[in-house]
């Protein structure tokens, strides 16, 4: 019997199954930790346990570190959308709708999604690496021994910064995206800037802007929560900090896409 078990343990099927089981446990652990940290952070916020200085510092980091990247990504995305549609639409006599289409695409999806991707790569990864390094160098243990809750000192300020600063970043990014679309439209088609702007105004709706900002708030807070939590989960050394950072980026990407789908379903179905 034990020989059969030994042979089975050497098979590829066993190795695949055990690897799958290990990944599933790790996945559930991560999800659990994110949930626990969210509850602890919300409890902290509800009781007014907020480190204002850290929140302001993190807000500055959140805004400035990702701004150029976010504006570039959303701006270029707006240009690409215009490039794909402007020439053909103007040729078909639908030039009046180019600005509207670019605006709706940018505000509803491209701005929040591409903006979040930029923030994940610039800010989220750095958060996970910083907190991960603090964990493996016992700085977080030191904080706890000194009687200070790392959730209060490290995670809550980052979540608040993400939640409140991300909308500003996305408003700017959306604007740059629409302007990018305008420049490209003007270059590839005969549509005038005034016609494009007129079309943009007709495309703008309060609901779209509200949903875009709602997404920005949720994505910002979520990126900070996931990145901080995965950094906090780090154990080991430098290699594990790298692994946590990669995981933080992957988890944040997936979470943003999934939550974007749910919000879009709720508001635009």
């Amino acid at each position: 019997m034990s020989k059969t078990i030994k042979i089975f343990k050497n098979t590829l099927t066993y190795k695949l199954l055990s690897s799958l089981a290990k990944d599933s446990i790790d996945w559930l652990e991560t999800l659990g930790l994110i949930g626990i940290n969210l509850i602890s952070a919300l409890r902290c916020i509800a009781t007014g346990c907020i480190n204002l200085k850290n929140t302001i510092n993190q807000s500055a980091i959140f805004g400035f570190d990702s701004l150029l990247m976010t504006l570039s990504m959303v701006g270029i995305s707006g240009m690409i959308i215009a490039l794909q549609i402007a020439y053909e639409m103007v040729k078909q006599g639908a030039g009046d709708y180019v600005g509207m289409l670019v605006t709706v695409s940018i505000i509803r999806e491209i701005g929040p999604i591409m903006g979040s991707f930029a923030v994940i790569s610039m800010v989220g990864s750095s958060m996970a690496a910083e907190i991960g390094t603090m964990k493996v160098t016992e700085q977080i243990d030191a904080m706890r021994v000194l009687g200070v809750d790392p959730i209060y000192f490290l995670i809550v300020p980052r979540i608040l910064a993400g939640f409140f600063i991300m909308p500003f970043v996305i408003i700017l990014a959306n604007t740059v995206g629409i302007i990018g679309g305008m420049i490209t439209t003007n270059i590839v088609s005969e549509l005038s800037v005034l016609n494009y702007i007129d079309s943009v105004w007709r495309g703008l709706s309060g609901k779209d802007i509200f949903v875009s900002l709602l997404k920005a708030c949720i994505f910002g807070g979520m990126i900070a929560l996931i990145s901080s939590s995965l950094g906090y989960k780090t154990q080991g050394g430098a290699k594990d900090v790298g692994r946590s950072t990669t995981k933080a980026v992957v988890w944040s990407f997936v979470a943003v896409v999934v939550v974007d789908y749910i919000i879009s379903l709720l508001f635009f179905e």
Binding site: Q139, A142, L146
Partner: protein, 240 residues
């Protein structure tokens, strides 16, 4: 009695790290915990400081205010030296109410002076040598005047002279604060210069205890092997 541990058991996964460990430490006393790497020394400190929970056993602490000096200092590298030392006073609710910013500045200055440092408040940890970082971590650990101080390999990675300086500070702080101190170490010089009592851990349990003088003269096979750094004896290291 400020620290009392009774029948502590702790394991990580399948590995038993501590089994039936009991000891106590009085005010003004320094206990050295010695043993080979991986013998569970640091786990005891983590249990006392609340960083890890034991699987079973009782811990009684006479004071919840604990200072701890970490093996590699563990200074907050995003904060300067002043902010590091003042951390507990600025961030802990009970101290926030007690101190004004000017008073915190005074306390930080005094604690840094106690460990022989001055005019470094604006520097960041990476600008200091290993020995200075260790002294800053001492200042940070005692800023709240704790009655329990834990040292995790305080002289690890330091040159002999810096080690002596650190050992002198451990002895000095003990007398100034009248604290119960636990020093985890495997350096004989640290044991001789700081400890009142020693317990030796091996394989998760206490295999010998006594004073530094008793250790030096002991014929006990464990104590003898440790003092003389013999490969032959009842203890085996992870290195073989």
């Amino acid at each position: 009695m400020l620290i009392q541990l009774k029948n502590i058991y702790k394991s990580f996964d399948d590995k038993i790290v501590l089994k039936d460990v009991s000891f106590d430490v009085n005010a003004g006393e320094t206990l050295a915990i010695v043993g080979f790497s991986g013998s569970g020394k640091s786990t005891i400190l983590k249990i006392i400081s609340g960083l890890t929970l034991p699987d079973s056993g009782n811990i009684k602490l006479g004071d919840n205010n604990i200072g701890m000096v970490f093996q590699y200092s563990a200074l907050f590298d995003s904060l300067n030296i002043y902010e590091n030392v003042a951390f507990a006073l600025k961030e802990r609710k009970e101290f926030k109410k007690l101190y004004t910013e000017d008073q915190i500045k005074e306390v930080v200055k005094e604690k840094l002076r106690l460990v022989g440092l001055s005019d470094i408040e604006d520097k960041v940890p990476s600008e200091l040598s290993g020995g200075m970082q260790k002294r800053v971590s001492f200042a940070r650990a005692i800023v709240t005047n704790p009655k329990i101080i834990l040292y995790d390999e305080p002289t690890a990675g330091l040159d002999p002279v810096s080690s002596t300086v650190i050992e002198d500070y451990i002895a000095q702080l003990k007398s100034e604060l009248d604290a119960a101190s636990i020093v985890v170490t495997h350096q004989m010089s640290t044991i001789k210069r700081t400890a009142d009592r020693i317990i030796m851990l091996y394989d998760g349990g206490i295999v010998w205890q006594g004073t530094p003088d008793e250790m030096a003269q002991s014929t006990d096979s464990y104590a003898h092997q440790f003092v003389n750094a013999n490969r032959e004896g009842p203890m085996r290291t992870a290195a073989g």
